[in-house]
């Protein structure tokens, strides 16, 4: 019986983690603690993680303004959130190198892609998809978390806290849950495939046959390069530069993260305060309107049922009172509009803070990516010539298939 429950639990976990065939599985995040490693893991058990800069939902400037945000803010958040996830994953001690990557990087052991669906001071909603180097989808989930003003107050003592930390913890724990399902042999295979994918992307004519795809579309290693394969050694040297480049870009993102953290936290907190005040006032407006309407209806009822002087007085009082209540609700509505304007102003103000930093970071990333593209073109040329010199393969044939993969910065 216990076994039955265990299997049922495992099946439900599997469905929850791998339910990706028909869109993301939705999760509302509850308070969650990240699971930290209780000891240093062996190198063989570690997988590197590459977190892509998140996608953002297409939104017009006008629509963004209505939501008290801005496309520029969304762009900045699309870098801030992956960077905080990177830090969360690092701090669990369950993973190898964790990097935020500027573009699709399939040559990393575990690739994390995400989409920012909603983000403000009250609610964060993201879509996360995890795929390993072999092409196996770990999970495709949508996470939503809501916070209150108390959540921000609790962070006053923690200088570096994030109100949505539970969401990050939940993602980290779900990744860990999947990784714990796969054995060391599979982990080793993922790492080998990642390395050979990189080799294939740089020197396709030398490593085209080292990987094969099975019927499910999963990549497998068909053969390994020799230990003393000079081309493989060169590829590893270039891969080290790839890591250097990404780490440099991570410096930029880290810089953006540091610069954003304080104004971003303030923006989110102020946003929630203004939103709550606006909601409170709107609630009052509706209460008064209903109360005023009830008074006027009551006056009408009294007027139709009573012809006495007292009844007439009561009717007049109710009419005047109801009218005054409704009129005062208009004033409160105006106050609410002030808060609404303040919300928009907050967005404009935060955008003004973050836009220069974002532009600088993006400019430098683009410039460096351009240099990397040029370097890769040169390295590819040299490797092609080396390959030809060492094997006798004609240059024209060696050149085949050397175009960069779409979506790559190289």
């Amino acid at each position: 019986m216990q076994h039955g429950f265990r299997w049922l639990g495992a099946a439900l976990t599997a469905v929850g983690l791998s339910g990706c065939a028909s869109g993301p599985v939705k999760h509302t995040v509850e308070p969650t603690e990240a699971i930290h490693a209780d000891r240093a893991l062996a190198d063989a058990a570690l997988l590197d993680v590459g977190i892509q800069v998140f996608e953002t939902a297409a939104i017009s400037a006008e629509a963004a303004r209505e939501q008290s945000t801005d496309p520029k803010i969304l762009e900045a958040e699309a870098r801030f959130i992956p960077f905080h996830l990177k830090k969360t994953l690092q701090q669990t001690g369950q993973w190898g190198a964790v990097r935020v990557v500027p573009a699709r990087a399939e040559e990393v052991d575990v690739n994390v892609s995400g989409k920012l669906l909603e983000s403000n001071g009250e609610r964060l909603r993201v879509e996360i998809k995890i795929v390993d180097a072999t092409g196996r989808v770990w999970f495709h989930n949508e996470y939503a978390a809501e916070v209150t003003e108390k959540s921000y107050e609790a962070l006053d003592k923690k200088r570096d806290g994030d109100p949505y930390q539970d969401l990050y913890n939940r993602v980290a724990n779900d990744m860990l849950a999947f990784r714990q399902q796969i054995n060391e042999k599979e982990i080793a295979a993922i790492r080998q495939v990642a390395l050979l994918k990189f080799a294939r992307s740089v020197v396709p004519y030398a490593f085209a046959t080292h990987l094969v795809q099975d019927k499910e579309g999963t990549l497998k290693v068909s053969r390994l390069p020799a230990d003393n394969d000079p081309m493989y050694e060169r590829v590893n040297r270039i891969r080290a530069r790839e890591h250097m480049f990404i780490d440099t870009v991570n410096n930029y993102y880290g810089n953006l993260y540091d610069d954003m953290r304080q104004p971003y936290g303030q923006w989110r907190r102020s946003y929630l305060q203004e939103l709550n005040q606006k909601r409170e006032l709107e609630r009052k407006v509706w209460e008064r309107r209903i109360l005023g309407a009830m008074a006027i209806v009551g006056a009408a009822v009294i007027g139709s049922n009573s012809s006495s002087t007292g009844g007439a007085v009561a009717r007049d009082i109710l009419i005047i009172g109801g009218y005054e209540i409704i009129r005062s609700s208009g004033q409160i509505a105006n106050d609410a509009k002030v808060h609404e304007a303040a919300l928009k102003e907050l967005g404009v103000s935060f955008k003004a803070d973050v836009a220069p930093v974002l532009d600088e970071v993006e400019g430098r990333t683009l410039k460096l990516s351009g240099s990397v593209d040029a370097q890769y073109a040169e390295w590819r040329r040299t490797l092609r010539e080396l390959f030809t010199a060492e094997t006798g393969l004609p240059t024209a044939a060696a050149a085949a298939g050397t175009s960069p993969e779409p979506g790559q910065y190289r």
Partner: protein
């Protein structure tokens, strides 16, 4: 391979037009009369004698073998070019299934191995001819080319050098980026991360290098994300190797490793790498440049 070549040659000889016209059908013909049969036997005997002579090392002429090996190499290269071209066309055809693609790839690999084998044979024979007494002259006089093995080794060494210099240039570019990042001002006053952990950690293996991330700083708790933490080990998930070090304080030759010598026998490229290493203030990157220098020197010696 040698036997196959001889067999191919025997096939060729067996089908060579004779003076009397027609072909002597030793291999796949039919014998019309006894005279023809006898005639064929004579040729077969002569062929066997030739084969025996050709197969005897003592009678082999290294120069002619080298010429033949070069001929074989040229043919195999042409075959590889043709096969590769056809395979590329087949691969671009959507109708080609994954299994067929795999077979095609395997076939290309086999042909490529044949080319490599022929190259090796040419290299060995060239060496034999060059080192044989009185055999210093090129095997194919008048072709105006240096011995192939030397040409190939030089070409590979030159390309290795080009790659090494390009990698060193790239390292320098990233170093400059890291320096610029360190001097950058910030709007939040949190300061730019001091350590270019990633760049500094250049060629450490990724998994091993991940130690920095797998053992979180003991002072970190919850979701700590402060700049102070980053300067201690962030960003760059490989951990900050140069934390605590003052990049600007390193002297130009303060950390020259003892095994790199004085550089008196350096060529232009080695001098360039040495100069970069000596002027590099970042100890981790400097060590990497010295590694590059050692690797280059090793290559030029080999």
């Amino acid at each position: 391979m040698h036997i196959k070549r001889l067999l191919d040659r025997s096939q060729y000889l067996s089908e060579t037009p004779r003076a009397g016209g027609g072909h002597s059908r030793i291999v796949c013909g039919s014998f019309h009369n006894r005279a023809h049969y006898k005639h064929a036997l004579h040729y077969a005997a002569a062929l066997l004698l030739w084969l025996a002579a050709a197969a005897t090392p003592g009678h082999a002429d290294p120069r002619s073998d080298l010429a033949q090996a070069r001929h074989d190499l040229a043919i195999s290269e042409q075959v590889l070019a043709r096969v590769t071209e056809r395979v590329e066309i087949a691969r671009s055809d959507p109708a080609t299934g994954p299994e067929q693609r795999r077979h095609l790839d395997e076939y290309v690999v086999r042909v490529r191995e044949m080319v490599v084998s022929n190259r090796e044979r040419v290299r060995i024979l060239s060496h034999t001819v060059d080192t044989a007494p009185g055999g210093g002259a090129p095997a194919m006089p008048g072709d105006g080319k240096a011995p192939l093995a030397a040409t190939q080794a030089e070409e590979i060494a030159a390309l290795e050098t080009r790659l090494g210099v390009s990698l060193a240039d790239f390292d320098q570019l990233l170093l400059e980026e890291a320096r610029r990042a360190r001097t950058r001002g910030t709007i939040g006053g949190s300061g730019f991360p001091g350590g270019s952990g990633g760049a500094a950690a250049a060629e450490r293996p990724s998994k091993g290098a991940a130690a920095g991330s797998k053992a979180p700083d003991a002072t970190h708790s919850g979701s700590g994300t402060g700049a102070a933490q980053r300067s201690a080990g962030e960003p760059g998930s490989q951990g900050g190797r140069i934390e605590g070090g003052d990049p600007g304080s390193a002297g130009a030759t303060a950390a020259r490793p003892p095994d790199v010598g004085d550089g008196s026998d350096d060529d232009v490229v080695a001098r360039q790498i040495r100069k970069l290493a000596e002027s590099e203030p970042d100890p981790a990157l400097r060590e990497k440049l010295w590694d590059e220098y050692r690797r280059y020197k090793q290559g030029t010696k080999g």
